[in-house]
């Protein structure tokens, strides 16, 4: 075997309290796509950040083409032909596409930035990604999917030899995704080293040549993708015991109607949304990325305005129309962006988990606005245990938790409040298989206990493994409804419009 083009040797990195990487060795060759997989917090991003110059490792060496290189800044990385498509998009909303792509280093002409050249180059690069937008357009005016393309375009600007993709598909539509895969395959043919991080094993199987698995900051195995099955990889990622829960499918008994939505709309965004939700059932809201599911969810809890329509909720034994601003009292909402809208990052686990329920954690009468901290602690403890959240103490700041545990903290917050209805928008986005399974189990339990749950997910397997009923959205409208016997094909076909005439 020839020497690999890229070699990272004995990389170790610790953060205060965590050993994120322990002596990891990593190799990749030109003309291959290497999948890097692992559970949340396994150290994938950290390893790649070391390569990208964003993080200084505690020890270890990097060789490119057999020569040792020092990479201590993103510009060192760029100079060595390394490009990085980050997990979290680094967009500058008020700036133009061209500025966002060139921001770290602009070409000059006559002492000023040479925009003519920049625009030309941007057009070429974006064209290659199948995008046609004007490089002068501001970032905030383009969709998240397009922003992801800009992010990728930036990585390709300087014809890199090594390209790192850290979960690039989470905000792409399936067509955009396919296009991206084609581009990646072309890059591979041109002889680049491609490192591809993803939680979607199907992507790994359809795109990648080789796989490397990280677990707890250590190499857990790897080799040619064709030699492994899905289960093998999962086993390497999370260890033996937990795989069983992975493809669980549960059925619930639906009870009486608990929420009825009638004709809510917001012009240009969602149209005439009507449906009802029953006790003890999980309704999957399915649709393509950008079909308006999030908008519906946000409208239901008054986070976005609506132009008309009514929302009724069961109170006592009657359905009562509820003002949009009041629905929050009955609905537990889990938004799709947990860092921005789900957590109080610098605050403690305890403070985060009691946030929605504070008015119920008070002392008796004359002190009815004083929080009973014993009660608060015991309630928190109860749900930490019930959901098996891994924390060192209730006072731990949530920003130091892993993504899966963070998500559980948010769910725990609502369990504590115990509303009759839940809306969960992408509750497992960015989580590893183990955490995903945990959260599905929680959803199932909730339904069993009689809650009505509306779940939005972009993963068809996931939504099919939890839902009892499906609503399919397209272009801001609900276009179809299916029972639990719906097939994958039904859902995909109605959502994409290929079979939109079918009722």
């Amino acid at each position: 075997m020839t020497i690999p083009y890229l070699k990272m040797d004995g990389i170790a990195k610790s953060f205060p309290g965590v050993q994120a990487l322990k002596n990891v060795t990593f190799e990749a060759s030109q003309g291959e796509i290497l999948a890097l997989v692992g559970a949340n917090g396994a150290g994938k991003s950290t390893l790649m950040n070391v390569l990208g110059g964003n993080i200084e490792p505690n020890s270890g060496k990097i060789y490119i083409n057999g020569k040792e290189v020092r990479i201590s800044s993103p510009s060192d990385a760029a100079a060595n032909g390394i490009a990085f498509v980050h997990q979290e998009m680094a967009m500058l909303p008020t700036m133009s596409i061209a500025d966002t792509m060139y921001i770290s280093s602009f070409p000059y002409k006559h002492g000023l930035i040479d925009y003519k050249t920049i625009y030309q180059r941007c057009r070429v690069v974006l064209k290659r990604l199948g995008c046609n937008f004007d490089p002068r357009e501001r970032i905030r005016n383009i969709s998240p999917g397009d922003q992801q393309m800009v992010e990728i375009g930036r990585a390709l600007l300087h014809d890199p030899q090594i390209i790192i993709f850290d979960e690039p598909t989470s905000s792409l539509t399936s067509r955009e995704k396919e296009h991206l895969f084609e581009v990646i395959r072309t890059l591979k043919q041109e002889g680049s080293v491609i490192i591809y991080i993803s939680h979607f094993l199907d992507e790994v199987f359809s795109l990648c040549d080789r796989v490397m698995v990280l677990r707890n900051g250590e190499t857990a195995g790897g080799g040619l993708v064709s030699e492994y099955t899905n289960r093998d990889i999962v086993k390497m990622m999370i260890g033996e015991k937990e795989i069983d829960t992975y493809y669980e499918r549960s059925e619930h008994r639906a009870g009486e109607e608990i929420m009825r939505v009638k004709g809510i709309y917001r012009s240009g965004v969602i149209n005439d949304i009507s449906f009802s939700l029953r006790k003890g059932e999980v309704v999957g809201l399915w649709g393509q990325l950008g079909s308006g599911r999030t908008e519906v969810a946000r409208a239901l809890v008054g986070l976005d305005p609506i132009d008309g329509g009514t929302i009724s909720i069961k109170m006592g034994d009657q359905m009562m129309p509820v003002k949009q601003s009041e629905t929050k009292k009955y609905i537990g909402m889990i938004t799709e962006n947990r860092r921005e809208e789900g957590l109080l990052l610098p605050m403690s686990v305890c403070n985060n988990m009691s946030l929605a329920n504070l008015t119920n954690l008070t002392k008796k009468k004359p002190f009815s606005s004083v929080i009973d901290s014993k009660l608060e602690n015991s309630e928190t403890d109860k749900y930490v245990k019930r959901m098996d959240i891994k924390i060192s103490s209730q006072a731990q700041r949530v920003e130091t938790l892993s993504g899966g545990n963070q998500q559980k903290v948010i769910i725990g917050r609502w369990l504590q409040k115990n509303p009759p209805i839940y809306i969960m928008d992408e509750p497992t986005r960015g989580l590893d298989v183990g955490a995903k399974a945990d959260i599905r189990r929680i959803i199932s339990d909730l339904a069993e206990q009689g809650a009505g749950i509306l779940v939005i997910s972009s993963e068809i397997e996931e939504i099919m493994s939890v839902s009892d009923r499906y609503l399919v959205m397209k272009r801001g409208s609900i276009v179809a409804e299916f029972g639990s016997n719906a097939s994958k094909e039904d859902l995909v076909a109605t959502a994409t419009g290929a079979a939109s005439k079918k009722e």
Binding site: G53, L92, S105, Y108, C131, R140
Partner: protein
């Protein structure tokens, strides 16, 4: 999802430069109430009045675009002007040397601000409030609270004209032009805007955030120094109150001109220029119609309030989300 052209949107334009309209209305109002207002002379004196503050505001704009603030600009202007004047009239140094030392000093004061804010992580508002006190204290100490007058031989520069135009107008427009180019056509300017968008994203993109932000304070200090030159030439002297409350006037100019205090937003030309002129038009106009002194602050507050209200509408009216999907289907919305 394809866009053919960089499309011009009237709404965007109105929101960004809507103050042009207000400006026009104000001008029309004053012209009707005080006929002499609508004249070349008045226009010139408006620009002339605005000139020093325009320069100071353009420097401050860089700091504000990084989402920080500098409320010491008035004191920087005072201290550097006072030292410059002392050098010329007390120590008899040659004028060019005094001017250069003045500018170096104003940069140093910017360095100090940058050090406190960027290196020591002191909240910008508090840090520059501290330096605001300290710089003025030092200036008063050095001048012993005296009015330091400039020699007559250079005072004439304060209202020298080329044709009908004061040279300081030309000078400040020239400075604004340079600042505009720095803002929109240099890496420094672009990175300042990027930092204002989000510091941690900027860092992740490989921008040397601390270096750039620090430098923004230096630029701000330098501009306060340059503005101070024009200011003291116009007045012919440096008095202990020179530059007081300049920071708030400059901030008002920026806010009216569309430079957002949330960072990352705004232009030097036409933004800062329009903001500065609007404010100057109002003050000069009130002068022309002989309004009571007590009205000034009231009107100024009102104008800031209204322009901010317009700005808040801009952020409230979110662009309607475009529904976009994969397959363009010919089937009309099936219901």
């Amino acid at each position: 999802m394809t866009k053919k052209q960089h499309n011009f949107s009237l709404r965007d334009f109105l929101f960004t430069y809507g103050f042009l309209l207000v400006l026009l209305l104000v001008i029309v109002y004053f012209s009707v109430t005080a006929p002499s207002f609508f004249s070349m002379n008045a226009a010139m004196s408006i620009l002339h009045t605005a000139a020093p503050l325009l320069i100071i505001a353009s420097g401050l704009a860089f700091v504000i675009m990084t989402k920080r603030i500098d409320i010491s600009v008035g004191s920087i202007a005072y201290l550097s002007a006072a030292i410059g004047a002392l050098m010329i009239s007390r120590m008899g140094l040659p004028i060019p040397l005094a001017v250069v030392s003045m500018l170096v000093l104003s940069c140093l004061m910017g360095v100090l601000n940058g050090f406190f804010v960027v290196i020591l992580n002191v909240n910008p508002m508090i840090a520059t409030f501290g330096t605001q006190l300290a710089f003025r204290g030092i200036g008063l100490l050095l001048t012993n609270s005296m009015v330091v007058s400039l020699p007559r031989s250079i005072r004439f520069l304060g209202n020298k004209k080329v044709g009908p135009i004061y040279i300081d107008i030309l000078f400040s427009l020239f400075i604004l032009l340079i600042m505009m180019l720095i803002h929109s056509r240099t890496q420094f300017g672009r990175q300042v805007v990027a930092i204002g968008n989000d510091i941690s994203i900027a860092e992740k993109l490989g921008i040397k955030e601390k270096r750039i932000s620090f430098f923004a304070y230096v630029v701000c200090g330098l501009m306060a120094g340059i503005g101070a030159i024009i200011m003291s030439l116009q007045v012919g002297s440096v008095t202990p109150t020179s530059g007081t409350s300049y920071e708030f006037t400059a901030i008002a100019m920026l806010v009216i001109g569309g430079v957002s205090l949330y960072g990352g937003e705004g232009t030097i030309l036409p933004g800062v220029l329009i903001g500065g002129i609007t404010l100057a038009v109002i003050e000069t106009g009130l002068n022309y119609i002989g309004a009571s002194v007590y009205v000034y602050s009231f009107v100024r507050g009102g104008v800031i309030f209204v322009s901010m209200f317009a700005d808040s509408l801009k952020t409230q009216v979110k662009p309607k989300v475009k529904i976009m999907e994969d397959e363009p289907t010919t089937v009309s919305n099936a219901q």
